[in-house]
């Protein structure tokens, strides 16, 4: 059975949502990982959303420098898939596992709504069950989601196919460069995304005509683990 670790920092608040989705919808073996726990034998790590350490300094900045992240960096070096969602994405860029930075939204306001993203690379542990350019409906909820990156790194990331999801250019919700919604590292095993796949994983949550195809982010991950 696929074994998933979900990090819990003080102030994480989507940990239970991610845990429940993997457990009840996807029937995985899921465990919470707290600072005092040992981390071993996980097939993948999810860093869920929330306001770790109250977003003091900058979103994700303090969690990024916690002892738990040292262990997660080691796992990343060993090729284990790491997925950061929302605040998890912020932690990954703050810790240097992913390039670029996340700034306050261009509107300077928190924004929560359903949005379309487009899959721009379907050859990753997190998107392998999608078609290329497939449109996925998925909720966002963040105040600091404007992805920025310097020109040179951007060119490298683009050439390496590290840009995994983009917002529809007509409704970029936060001013992200090149409409980037998700990006991965060079090796492709660490990905950060601003939207929340766990919030589109159940038809009950998509009554207003939304789809639940965002769950394929998690299903892709399970598929990748099972294949390897």
């Amino acid at each position: 059975m696929v074994k998933i670790g979900v990090t819990v920092f003080p102030g994480s608040n989507c940990d239970r949502d991610v845990y429940n989705t993997f457990k009840t919808k996807l029937h995985c073996n899921v465990n919470y990982i707290e600072e005092r726990n040992k981390i071993k034998n996980f097939d993948a790590i999810i860093i869920p959303g929330g306001f770790t350490y109250g977003d003091r300094l900058r979103a994700g900045a303090i969690a990024a420098h916690s002892p738990m992240m040292d262990k997660i960096k080691e796992m990343a070096d060993n090729g284990i898939p790491i997925l950061g969602i929302c605040n998890g994405f912020q932690i990954l860029v703050e810790s240097g596992l992913l390039p670029g930075a996340l700034m306050p939204n261009k509107t300077l306001k928190f924004v929560c709504r359903w949005i379309d993203v487009i899959i721009t690379n379907n050859k990753t542990p997190f998107t392998n069950l999608y078609k290329i350019h497939q449109k996925v409906q998925i909720p966002i909820a963040h105040g600091e989601g404007q992805y920025v990156i310097d020109k040179q790194t951007y060119t490298e990331a683009k050439n390496n196919n590290q840009i995994i999801m983009k917002y529809d250019e007509r409704e970029n919700p936060n001013g992200s460069m090149d409409n980037i919604a998700a990006i991965c590292n060079l090796r492709g095993n660490v990905m950060g995304m601003m939207p929340h796949p766990e919030r589109a994983s159940d038809s009950d949550l998509a009554l207003n005509g939304f789809s639940t195809n965002a769950i394929f982010v998690f299903k892709s991950l399970i598929n990748y683990i099972n294949r390897n």
Binding site: G11, K109, C112
Partner: protein, 734 residues
């Protein structure tokens, strides 16, 4: 700041059989403030019906508790933070959210939803500087709520906003929360001698000194030091710690610290538990050293919880505090003598019976029908019928009271927790999935314009609307919470409006057999320019057993459109009179309890029998606004024949904009079945039109098209109005 009056002082002295010392007076002063003691309202709110099959705990506790079956409960509470928000909107609103979440936590349940009902002065009037002040209040209140709720990971799933000039330079910020948990995890609140009293969370500081007293008088000076400081991160870890403590059975009793600080928390808890407390003040962890005993006792520093545990379990609980990094102090122990005894470094500095402190002498204030009601009646004149109805409708749809509140609710994380089935802006009530597979619904409704002209009928209207909103999404109402907000109760004419409102809740809830599970009273909502309009806010809690019953206000092409209920010439306090014509007066919509029950029952049966596709109630803005809202939601047009609408109105504008109660717009594929059903139940109703695919909204009168509007234009006016008003200003100032 002593506000104990002569009578209260003598009452206290007589009961103590001695002169109270200064600290004792301060403790009592905090607890006997209007805010904490409900001294003006208690004898009246006691008369509300509170019995019901599902009620485990009714009003009088931190939150009401309702049984939702299968070993699960929901808890519900409503609070306001009006005075603080009026002077410091960000901190006031944020700490309002923090307070209501701790109330839910105190019962032993996890908060799963927040709602808010917000009221501001007009943001689009001709007075630019007043607009700016009101907009400043709105923006910061919204940000305060967003920052606190979002950080806590509790979704803000719905609410309502009303603009009215009686709230100029002021605001009403009501926040409500729903909690969910297992029945057997409810905090038992049973303690015995030598149990240990712990104060956990934030350090006690000089913030929020005299907050309760500040909220118990008119807002004449802007006392910012009485406003508390929010720290949602601390509350989040405190919440997780407390919930784990409950799960591990380390919590025997728990209460949050809110208005009145330790004074209220300790006296009320001791009195509720029928025990005595011995407290050592020097043990309390403080923010600053130079605090007086009184300051420590009345500080309203946020994010603090009082927890009582046994000697046996204390180590386990302390381990949890360590794990979560929560500061705590052992501040005393329980005894059997029913006194609240306070020591400082071993010296007794206050000792009074807890019951005496916790129960202020109640008042039976006098009341008199306000003069303004007669004056308005005398001055009232019907407006002229406007010529351009297309323009009129577009103007109504962009009215801040009617238009989309997207600018506000998109700043709230309404999805966290993965329970939000019906989301803000999409339906008449919010709905959340529960752990037993059922769904709880919640909505808040208020209408100060109706209540001003007729507090009794206005309040009945709020109740009727909240029940309609519950029925519309397919739920059965199981409880009501009320939040009663009025001006100065010492003014007989204000107090009359308060009593009328209470009478309405009593009549409605008794007749409909829906219990009141909680409530709150907020008085002295007055500024230099006078009192607010009477503003009861009603929250209805509903339950849906099965997902197939959930209904949305979305049409399908070629469906028949019906109106259920009669449209009367009731335009008093309507958006049409007040927004379009600036007229205050006229006949307020009336609720006939018998009729409304019959209609609501019938609609419920139709929903259950799956005869209905879309359903939406008619309220603010009248039937035309309801039609437009479903049309916007469905992205489809309609053609409606005005001649078919059952109405007593003789004017087209009145038919369109009357806010008569007990009306629903539905759409259906089963035209004949619906018609037969309604005829058989003898409900006034008619098939009035058809859903069309051409994205045009058309109304016919005497077989002529009198209104013809592009849906795209309606959507633009509806969606962008508030955004334009609020963002335009930003551009001007930058």
């Amino acid at each position: 700041m002593i506000i104990l009056n002569k009578f209260e002082f003598e009452y206290l002295k007589e009961r103590l059989n001695r002169e109270p010392n200064e600290l004792e007076q301060n403790i009592v002063n905090a607890e006997w403030s209007e805010h904490c003691s409900y001294k003006s309202s208690k004898i009246h709110i006691r008369t509300l019906p509170t019995d019901g099959d599902r009620i485990i705990k009714g009003p009088g506790f931190d939150a009401g508790v309702l049984d939702v079956g299968d070993g699960y409960v929901i808890t519900v509470h409503i609070e306001s933070h009006n005075h603080p928000s009026a002077v410091e909107p960000y901190g006031g609103a944020a700490t309002g959210v923090g307070g209501v979440l701790r109330d839910i936590l105190s019962m032993g349940t996890r908060p799963i939803a927040l709602l808010n009902a917000l009221r501001f002065g007009n943001v689009d009037s001709k007075n630019i500087s007043l607009n700016k002040k009101n907009q400043w209040l709105l923006k910061n209140v919204v940000k305060g709520i967003a920052d606190y709720g979002n950080c806590m990971g509790v979704p803000t799933v719905g609410g309502e906003v009303e603009f009215d000039s009686s709230f100029d330079n002021y605001c009403l910020v009501d926040v409500a929360s729903i909690g969910h948990g297992k029945l057997n995890n409810l905090v038992k609140n049973k303690v015995k001698e030598d149990d240990i009293i712990i104060l956990a969370g934030n350090s006690t500081g000089k913030d929020g000194i005299n907050g309760a007293s500040f909220a118990s008088s008119n807002l004449e000076e802007e006392n910012r030091s009485a406003v508390q400081i929010p720290d949602p991160f601390l509350e989040k870890i405190l919440q997780e710690c407390a919930l784990e403590g409950i799960e591990k059975k380390c919590v025997k009793a728990m209460k949050d610290l809110g208005g009145g600080g330790l004074s209220c928390c300790l006296s009320e808890t001791a009195d509720n538990l029928k025990k005595g407390f011995e407290i050592e003040l020097s043990n309390i962890h403080l923010k600053q050293k130079d605090m007086t005993d009184t300051e420590i006792m009345i500080s309203e520093s946020q994010e603090r919880m009082l927890i009582i545990t046994s000697k046996k379990k204390k180590t386990k609980l302390f381990d949890l505090f360590e794990k979560y990094g929560i500061r705590y102090s052992v501040i005393g122990k329980v005894n059997d003598n029913k006194n609240l005894l306070i020591r400082k470094n071993g010296q007794v500095i206050a000792t009074m019976p807890a019951k005496l402190v916790a129960n202020a002498p109640l008042l039976d204030r006098s009341s008199r029908k306000p003069h303004y009601l007669d004056n308005i009646g005398k001055l009232f004149k019907e407006p002229r019928i406007p010529k351009d109805f297309n323009r009129l409708i577009l103007s109504m749809i962009s009215n801040p009271n009617i238009c989309s509140k997207k600018w506000i609710y998109q700043q709230f994380d309404h999805e966290v927790g993965i329970r939000t089935v019906l989301k803000p802006g999409f339906s008449d009530s919010s709905a959340l999935k529960l752990d037993n597979g059922k769904y709880v619904t919640f909505n808040l409704d208020g209408n100060s314009k109706h209540c001003y002209l007729d507090p009794y009928q206005g309040t009945l209207g709020c109740l009727a609307e909240s029940v309609r909103n519950t029925i519309c999404v397919g739920a059965t109402p199981i409880g009501i919470v009320d939040h009663l907000q009025f001006g100065n109760p010492e003014n007989e004419q204000v107090f009359w409006t308060f009593l009328e409102s209470i009478r309405a809740i009593r009549d409605f809830c008794s007749f409909m057999k829906i219990p009141v599970v909680g409530g709150k009273v907020s008085l002295y909502n007055e500024t230099k320019s006078g009192g607010i309009k009477p503003t009861p806010v009603i929250g209805a809690i509903g339950l849906i057993d099965d997902k197939s019953l959930i209904k949305l206000p979305t049409f399908d092409i070629d469906e028949g459109i019906f109106i259920i209920g009669m449209t009367f010439d009731e335009l008093g306090g309507s958006e049409y009179y007040e927004y379009c014509h600036k007229i205050i007066g006229g006949t307020v919509p009336k609720v006939n309890l018998g009729n409304q029950k019959k209609i609501v029952e019938t609609v419920k049966k139709m929903v259950r029998a799956n005869l209905v596709s879309a359903i939406h109630d008619c309220s603010k803005g009248g039937l035309i606004v309801s039609l437009m809202e479903i049309s916007i939601q469905s992205n489809l047009g309609f053609v409606v024949d005005m001649d078919k609408i059952p109405t007593s109105c003789t004017r087209l504008d009145h038919t369109l904009f009357s806010e008569s109660h007990d009306r629903f717009i539905i759409s259906t594929k089963h035209h004949e079945k619906v018609k037969d059903f309604l005829v058989q139940k003898k409900i006034p109703s008619a098939e009035i039109g058809l859903v069309t695919g051409d994205k045009k909204c058309k109304l016919k009168l005497n077989n002529k098209i009198v209104i013809d509007l592009q849906l795209s234009e309606i959507i633009k006016n509806h969606e962008c109005s508030l955004l334009d008003i609020l963002e335009k200003n930003v551009k001007e100032t930058t």
